[in-house]
């Protein structure tokens, strides 16, 4: 209780660390079969998540368990996602793999779930660490942030104005990457590169489209755009491709090969990167089953088998990292289909 009698922020101490450590991990425990693993993406009908969840399904079913996918139809329907966590808890699934729309909103529900014996893995987008046991990260945020800048800087010859076209202002992972991008730009080799603006297209095709227009009108000398979101990069590519800026303004960021194939071929986009979402899902599936089998608890240093992907070690705060992203350009793009 503070002096003025109210409860303020300083009264609430920050809890942290993963919710691991309840019970001991037994790395040699057999992989249980007949489990049910529920995947809860940010949004169903989203191709990225569909691909990821297919990977999850492959892993879960290969281990002899049952896979199910539920989720809201809108990527901003946080309360919808919360009710799905509740539903999965009710249905007594063994593990939930969730990509959180909001780092905080799911917490109460996820803690409820864990209290009811459900194991919780986050993938793609994390919650606060104490609301889940393991976070399967698509790649180190640092790697992603820095490599995107490197990729673009190379294309514009380390000289000129650049801008970022992000998703929602609240998107946790995008914001983290952007922080690393800004950090990377502090390196002297980027002294002629100037970040002029961060715009937000809210992962909406039309809004991203108009934001791109705005960027180019406001900064006619713009040399390149980084868009760390699949929707944003696609909309920006479509606009550039139909405008006089095609080929002149470089575009890079995170996108899927299928989305951007034609733009790579018509010269709008030179190179971009992404991890393989299917593998991300696969890893999340393995992590879920490993948790539910008691092979891991989410503590740092534990290891588990992830089928073809190999063996993974849990890092600090219960984070498992998929690895470095793949760079796609016109030479290799036809080798991928997702």
């Amino acid at each position: 209780v503070t002096a003025c009698g109210g409860t303020t922020k300083s009264d609430v101490k920050k809890e942290s660390g993963p919710a691991a450590s309840a019970g001991e991990a037994d790395p040699d425990a057999p992989t249980k079969k007949g489990l049910t693993v529920g995947f809860l993406p940010k949004q169903v009908n989203n191709p990225y998540f569909t691909t990821a969840d297919k990977g999850g399904q492959k892993a879960v079913e290969a281990l002899g368990s049952t896979f199910k996918e539920v989720g809201p139809t809108s990527a901003t329907d946080t309360s919808g996602q919360v009710s799905y966590v509740n539903t999965l808890t009710q249905q007594q699934v063994d593990a939930i793999a969730v990509s959180a729309q909001d780092p905080g909103a799911l917490c109460t529900a996820l803690k409820q779930a864990m209290k009811n014996g459900v194991k919780v893995v986050t993938y793609d987008s994390d919650t606060t660490a104490d609301c889940r046991q393991v976070f399967v990260s698509q790649a180190g945020a640092e790697d992603l942030g820095r490599t995107q800048v490197q990729l673009l800087a190379e294309q514009i010859g380390y000289r000129g104005e650049i801008a970022i076209l992000s998703a929602a202002q609240t998107a946790t992972n995008q914001n983290l990457w952007i922080d690393y991008m800004k950090d990377e730009l502090k390196d002297p080799k980027y002294k002629d590169v100037k970040l002029v603006k961060v715009a937000y297209g809210n992962d909406d095709a039309q809004q991203s489209f108009q934001q791109t227009q705005g960027l180019l009108q406001e900064h006619p000398k713009l040399a390149g755009i980084v868009s760390p979101t699949t929707v944003g990069i696609k909309a920006a590519a479509q606009y550039l491709s139909g405008s006089k800026y095609r080929g002149k303004v470089k575009l890079s960021g995170l996108g899927t090969p299928n989305d951007l194939r034609s733009y790579v071929k018509n010269g709008t986009v030179e190179a971009f990167e992404l991890w393989d979402p299917a593998k991300l899902g696969e890893l999340a599936g393995h992590a879920s089953v490993a948790l539910a089998s008691g092979q891991i608890t989410g503590a740092e240093g534990q290891t588990f088998e992830a089928g073809d992907l190999g063996t993974y070690t849990i890092g600090k705060d219960g984070v498992v990292s998929l690895g470095k992203p793949t760079v796609f350009d016109k030479d290799n793009i036809d080798d991928f289909d997702f």
């Binding site: 503070t2 003025c4 009698g5 109210g6 409860t7 303020t8 922020k9 300083s10 009264d11 609430v12 920050k14 169903v44 009908n45 199910k68 539920v70 989720g71 809201p72 139809t73 809108s74 901003t76 329907d77 946080t78 309360s79 919808g80 919360v82 009710s83 799905y84 509740n86 539903t87 808890t89 009710q90 249905q91 007594q92 909001d102 780092p103 905080g104 909103a105 917490c107 109460t108 409820q112 606060t128 929602a168 202002q169 609240t170 998107a171 946790t172 914001n175």
Partner: protein, 332 residues
């Protein structure tokens, strides 16, 4: 008289009430995991925001107006709550400030509608964007989650192992107040008159503008209360909290048989509509019905909710007509 008994039987708000009971009974019997206390408390907790806003919205719609900015007002008060919390203000001071903010938001809507005579639909589409925009300016990309746990527990917890969330109790009190206000006071009666014929109400001495101003203000207040509840219930204050909630409220209220032309409807119907949608969604999720199919079901329910009573009424009128035609001539 027989025809009116029939007509009353097909009154939609009673039908929705009955439907709600049927759905609940069937779900208790046949849906795994529905009947346990935890699930019911989830159901109620997740439906409360809609129900809270539906209370003043019903009154507003009965008086012939609408407020689409409620979700944005809720978002704004959540955002302000988060921002002030980050500033280090005590939560006991923040909540009243947020509620006051809601009053101001409602007042702005009300003044624009009553002083300038603008259509409320247009005004509140405008403030829908404006309030949400301000919320975005206030809180930016932050998500504030570290509210004090007694408050979080109150908003998300339940009484012991029962199905009753703590927050249900204040809601029931508010519901009682709203029901009395609409159905048992002169104020409520004049709302119906205003909604059905504003000019006639004015000629009967109803202070229409003042009445509407009060309603908009109360709606703002309740929306901000919902915003505070939302932020605590989900332990997350973001500028986009409760986005799109207005459509859910409108859908539920419409389902409850409230006529958007004004002058008709009951609070019982509206609240039954809210919980019917909530229960159906819960049941369908438990039954692994996909979100897409749930949308279709909601839509079909809405269409049926308006077609149903009309068809019913037509049948009953036709029957009564036939009976009257065959009856011997008599002077009433």
């Amino acid at each position: 008289m027989a025809d009116s008994a029939l007509a009353r039987a097909v009154r939609w708000d009673t039908v929705v009430g009955a439907l709600l009971i049927v759905v609940l009974l069937l779900s208790f019997g046949f849906v795994d995991g529905f009947g346990n206390a935890l699930n019911l408390s989830f159901l109620i907790g997740n439906t409360l925001p809609i129900a809270l806003i539906a209370l003043p919205m019903t009154l507003l719609v009965v008086s012939g107006e609408i407020d689409l900015s409620v979700a944005s007002t809720a978002g704004l008060s959540g955002a302000v709550m988060g921002a002030l919390w980050n500033q280090g203000l005590p939560i006991e001071a923040i909540i009243p400030i947020c509620l006051l903010l809601g009053v101001v938001c409602g007042l702005v809507n009300g003044l624009l509608v009553t002083r300038l005579g603008l259509p409320s639909l247009a005004v509140t589409i405008g403030t829908l964007a404006a309030y949400r925009g301000i919320a975005q300016i206030v809180l930016g990309s932050d998500a504030v989650t570290d509210f004090p746990s007694p408050y979080l527990d109150f908003a998300a917890g339940r009484i012991g192992d029962t199905f009753v969330p703590y927050a249900l109790l204040p809601f029931l009190a508010l519901l009682a107040v709203a029901v009395l206000a609409l159905h048992a006071t002169p104020f409520g009666r004049s709302l119906f008159a205003t909604g059905a014929n504003e000019e006639a109400a004015r000629f009967a001495g109803v202070r229409v503008k003042r009445q509407k101003l009060i309603l908009f203000t109360v709606t703002g207040l309740m929306a901000s209360l919902t915003g505070v509840f939302w932020a605590l219930h989900y332990a997350s204050a973001r500028f986009d909290n409760a986005t799109g909630l207005e459509l859910s409220v409108v859908a539920a209220v419409l389902l409850g048989g409230i006529d958007f032309d004004g002058g008709r409807g009951t609070l019982g119907g509206a609240i039954a509509g809210v919980f019917l949608l909530g229960a159906l969604q819960n049941v369908m999720s438990l039954g692994d019905v996909s979100a897409q199919s749930q949308i279709v079901v909601t839509g079909v329910l809405l269409v049926v909710s308006v077609l149903g009573p009309r068809v019913g009424r037509r049948i009953s009128v036709a029957r009564a007509g036939r009976r009257a035609a065959s009856a011997p001539a008599s002077t009433p």
